[in-house]
């Protein structure tokens, strides 16, 4: 199988964001077929003092080596993908994600995450989101605890 070399990840332009949360609504539509947003969205827009921050998976794949059943894989397009039919809901990936981007909603036991589908990009009325291509080798990380520290 040919290994993916590139992956698209989300880039955020905070200066353009107005906090309308259309991106979250579009995302929850993809994952849960609802426009609820919030805990059903893989992308989170967080209001900070005088602006907005985006919180979403950056496809580094640190969770890949955490999955005991192989539900997490890197797909051909480089995206880290959770197959919810294989997933046994253990939350290891949720607990170990250093940025909390593996999301868990109350709607089901299996977590979910950003799949770089671009629906949030398309939904944003202000063009504050963009998908940009990265080389996987430059971003990938491994959960690896060296002895001692």
């Amino acid at each position: 199988m040919q290994k993916a070399r590139y992956v698209k990840i989300l880039k955020f332009y905070p200066e353009k964001c107005t906090g309308c949360l259309e991106c979250e609504k579009a995302c929850s539509q993809i994952h849960f077929k609802t426009k609820d947003g919030g805990d059903k969205s893989a992308i989170m827009i967080i209001k900070k003092n005088n602006g907005y921050q985006m919180h979403v998976c950056d496809q580094r794949g640190l969770c890949l080596d955490m999955c005991p059943v192989g539900a997490l894989t890197r797909r051909k397009n480089g995206v880290v993908w959770l197959d919810k039919d294989i997933c046994v809901g253990c939350q290891a990936c949720v607990g170990f994600c250093p940025i909390g981007a593996m999301r868990k909603s109350e709607a089901r036991i299996e977590p979910f995450k950003c799949i770089s589908c671009g629906s949030c990009v398309r939904a944003c009325p202000e063009n504050a989101l963009e998908l940009v291509e990265k080389t996987i080798d430059d971003i990938k990380e491994v959960v690896y605890h060296k002895q001692g520290v």
């Binding site: 046994v88 809901g89 170990f96 491994v142 060296k146 002895q147």
Partner: protein, 774 residues
């Protein structure tokens, strides 16, 4: 291999590959008994059915789990005790027709969100001790058994030829089949059966099969363990975890069971059907995060598993060296965890059940076998864990590769590494004193550090060697003690004091000489000297947190009860205190890890829908703990005399041991026994040893007094009908039996304190009939 993010299908171990015609093997199976069952629904952690298989009669049936059973016995080990009580007699021994081998799960078993929730509990009458032995084990079998629809598997009777029992959750059928062509040794047999019973030729299908087996060693010794498999989709081998203690594998093979196979149709994160999955996720994820952030600064379990303990034990004089003569040794640094770290395969989720991010089940892949029938092959070795490495130092094997070799063969032959290692260490010491020699050992030069001889001994056991020594020695330390004494070889006292067994079971790998509470943690136990009831060495010896007998007794009440609780629920104890919240030290009772205790309260409530508190958890255990002790009494043991421990676990047996820690012992003669420094200086070692011997023996008896009192037992260690009624364990047959035993003890004058109390010391109670008022 350090690089991560390797696609699962591309992962390589470098192991020797096998190609078997498993189809042909399967065709040779003859079905002896068959039973179809309906698909069940797990409700709040319980499948509410027990699967009963009788190999003598061919009867296979279901038994219901009643609400009363849940209320009194909770599940897991508790269910096992109840099933045994209903099925065996006081005269039942390990190889009796009616003895049972029981594998149970527990209501929380199979949860994936909370680390360490996949344990099976195995019970039987042990060949080593003649009483109940319970052993907990990881692997997928327990959770799968439950997801197929059974809280427990109860096997009675014996087959006439080698059989396998298949519990197929896909076809909803249980079969007993002959299995003439399969291997017997576990690493091969488990792989064959995993491939044979997987529905499709994929790793995901193979992961849905779990096998329980024991190898050839289990047939010819009393140390048989059960190997529980869990298929690793990355390594593409069924790895194994062991229910090691007490000879469960020996019973499996005595019943002519080659293996037990469970296959699950499908399961997910809520297959237990918990009452409150959201709380479960909340508590579980919090623990995952704690492990992520803190493990590397605490126990390093994710990196090296329990092997991190080796250097700590060596540092505190607790690592058994040469049959527990010493607790540390300069060369022991050769087997510190960094050496195993180099060998372990890294960056793999190493939990023995899904979702265990503590991941202590470390593995060496592509290990080249050094001796025996598999010499030269490359294999996956599960472990070694601390106990197995401790066996290495105990035998004087201070080479990681030989420890791996020992580990591999013990596992695949189905031998408990702990019993095997501890026993060999004793034989080696006897060899050193000339009590054993080459001739008496059937040509084996069993001196300390002789790895080849130790391995040859194990191979001969597996081959069923008929040599007198091999025959006796494979039955364990107790039998060898009796044999040596009968032969008139060596000093009886020396033999009794140095052979590390109690109740007939070999000690696990901690030196307890300087911790009285831990001596109790080994001796005042239900099944024998295993550290799963209490591990109080640091609390007692290092932190001096439990100085009085009363304190120690309280610890020897609370911790055995608390640890029993894990066994009632199908959980692993490690995630309780092998990672601690960062503010744990500032809590009222850091040794109990209060935040994690609360996690377990929430966990049990979230699965079962009950509304229990932490006191109720202890009560659940107390019911079963007392029940098991009462059953031991029923089986003719379970009294003060049975809680005896060898002096090697209390103090220096030989002059060499005394001299090696002379300063410590001399100081104690002054500080604790009130001798003057001058007198101590004048005394010779033998004299000092004798005084220490008397003192420490008496201390242990006083500890037993305090513990029996705290547990609500008679001074002879018998649970009372009053206590049992208080716990609502009011089975009339049991209450009558206990009262009869207490009356007999009364006549024999056994209901008295064991310690000798000076005028300024007080026994736990002035009233020797204190228990009547419980």
């Amino acid at each position: 291999m350090v690089e991560g993010q390797i696609p699962i299908e591309e992962y390589k171990t470098g192991n020797t590959k096998h190609s078997w015609d498993t189809k042909k093997m399967r065709v040779a199976h003859k079905i002896l008994a068959e039973y179809g069952f309906k698909k069940g629904k797990i409700k709040r952690g319980y499948a509410n059915r027990i699967l009963y298989v009788n190999l003598s009669t061919g009867v296979i049936k279901e038994k219901p789990v009643t609400d009363e059973m849940k209320r009194k016995f909770t599940g897991g080990r508790g269910f096992g005790l109840k099933l045994l009580w209903d099925s065996i007699k006081p005269t039942t021994r390990w190889n009796s027709e009616e003895n049972e081998l029981i594998i149970t799960t527990g209501p929380l078993c199979g949860t994936t969100q909370y680390a360490g929730s996949g344990k099976s509990l195995c019970l039987t009458i042990s060949p080593s001790t003649d009483i109940i032995c319970d052993s907990n084990v990881g692997g997928f079998f327990g959770p799968y058994l439950k997801f197929v629809g059974f809280d427990a598997l109860e096997i009675q009777g014996k087959a006439k030829e080698d059989v396998i029992i298949v519990v197929d959750g896909e076809k909803r059928k249980v079969t007993v089949e002959t299995a003439p062509d399969e291997e017997t040794d576990s690493h091969l047999l488990n792989e064959q059966l995993t491939h044979m019973y997987a529905s499709e030729d994929t790793d995901k299908s193979r992961q849905k099969v779990s096998v329980v087996s024991a190898g050839r060693g289990a047939e010819h010794s009393f140390w048989g363990c059960l190997n529980f498999s869990f298929y690793d989709i990355r390594r593409k081998v069924p790895r194994m975890k062991q229910a090691g203690r007490g000879g469960l594998g020996t019973v499996l093979r005595d019943k002519k069971i080659k293996a037990i196979v469970a296959k699950v149709e499908r399961f997910d994160g809520v297959s237990n059907n918990p009452a409150d999955p959201l709380t479960l996720v909340k508590v579980g994820t919090k623990l995952h995060q704690e492990i992520r952030d803190l493990d590397r600064y605490q126990c390093n379990m994710r990196t090296v598993g329990t092997s991190h303990l080796v250097e700590i034990m060596d540092e505190y004089d607790l690592l058994p060296i040469e049959n527990y003569r010493f607790g540390s040794f300069p060369k022991a640094s050769k087997i510190y965890s960094p050496h195993f770290y180099k060998l372990f395969t890294k960056v793999i989720p190493d939990g023995c059940w899904h979702g265990c991010t503590m991941a202590c089940a470390k593995t060496v892949d592509g290990f080249t076998v050094l001796t025996g029938p598999y010499r030269g092959q490359k294999v996956t070795v599960d472990g070694p864990e601390y106990e197995t490495i401790g066996c290495g130092s105990n035998m004087g094997l201070l080479d990681p590769l030989w420890i791996l070799e020992f580990n591999f063969y013990c596992d695949t032959y189905g031998l408990d590494t702990i019993s095997t290692g501890t026993a060999i260490a004793f034989y080696m010491e006897m060899y050193e004193y000339g009590i054993l020699n080459k001739e008496r050992c059937n040509d084996l030069e069993l001196c300390f550090s002789n790895a080849e001889a130790a391995l040859e001994f194990i191979h001969r056991i597996a081959r069923g060697d008929k040599g007198e020594f091999i025959q006796v020695a494979s039955k364990g330390v107790r039998r060898v003690k009796d044999w040596l004494i009968k032969k008139g070889w060596g000093d009886r006292q020396l033999i009794e004091d140095t052979g590390m067994e109690s109740k007939g079971l070999e000690y696990s790998e901690y030196v307890t000489k300087e911790s009285l509470a831990m001596q109790g943690g080994y001796g005042l136990t239900l099944k024998g000297p295993q550290h799963d009831e209490a591990w109080l060495i640091f609390m007692d010896m290092v932190n001096n947190a439990i100085p009085t007998f009363e304190d120690k007794a309280e610890a020897l009440h609370y911790f055995p009860m608390w640890r029993t609780w894990f066994g009632l629920n199908g959980l692993c104890k490690l995630p309780w205190n092998d990672v601690e919240p960062s503010n744990n030290a500032e809590t009222d009772e850091p040794a109990k890890v209060p935040e994690h205790v609360q996690n377990y309260v929430d966990f049990q409530n979230a699965v079962t829908g009950w509304n229990v508190d932490k006191e109720e958890l202890i009560l659940q255990s107390e019911r079963c703990y007392n029940w098991q002790r009462a059953m031991n009494v029923w089986l003719g043991k379970g009294c003060r005399k049975d809680d005896w421990i060898p002096y090697r676990s209390m103090g220096p047996v030989t002059e060499m041991e005394y001299v090696s820690r002379k300063e410590r012992y001399d100081e104690q003669l002054v500080d604790k026994l009130g001798l003057s420094e001058k007198d101590v200086e004048k005394m010779d070692t033998k004299e000092k040893m004798k005084i220490l011997y008397e003192y420490r023996r008496d201390q242990y008896q006083k500890l037993a007094d305090a513990v029996y009192y705290r547990r609500g037992w008679t001074p002879n260690g018998v649970p009372t009908p009053q206590k049992m009624k208080q716990l609502e364990m009011d089975d009339p047959k049991m209450l009558t039996m206990l009262q009869k035993k207490i009356d007999e003890d009364e006549k024999a004058g056994l209901n008295v304190w064991g310690g000798r109390y000076r005028s300024d010391e007080k026994p736990p109670s002035d009233d020797l009939k204190y228990w009547e008022k419980w």
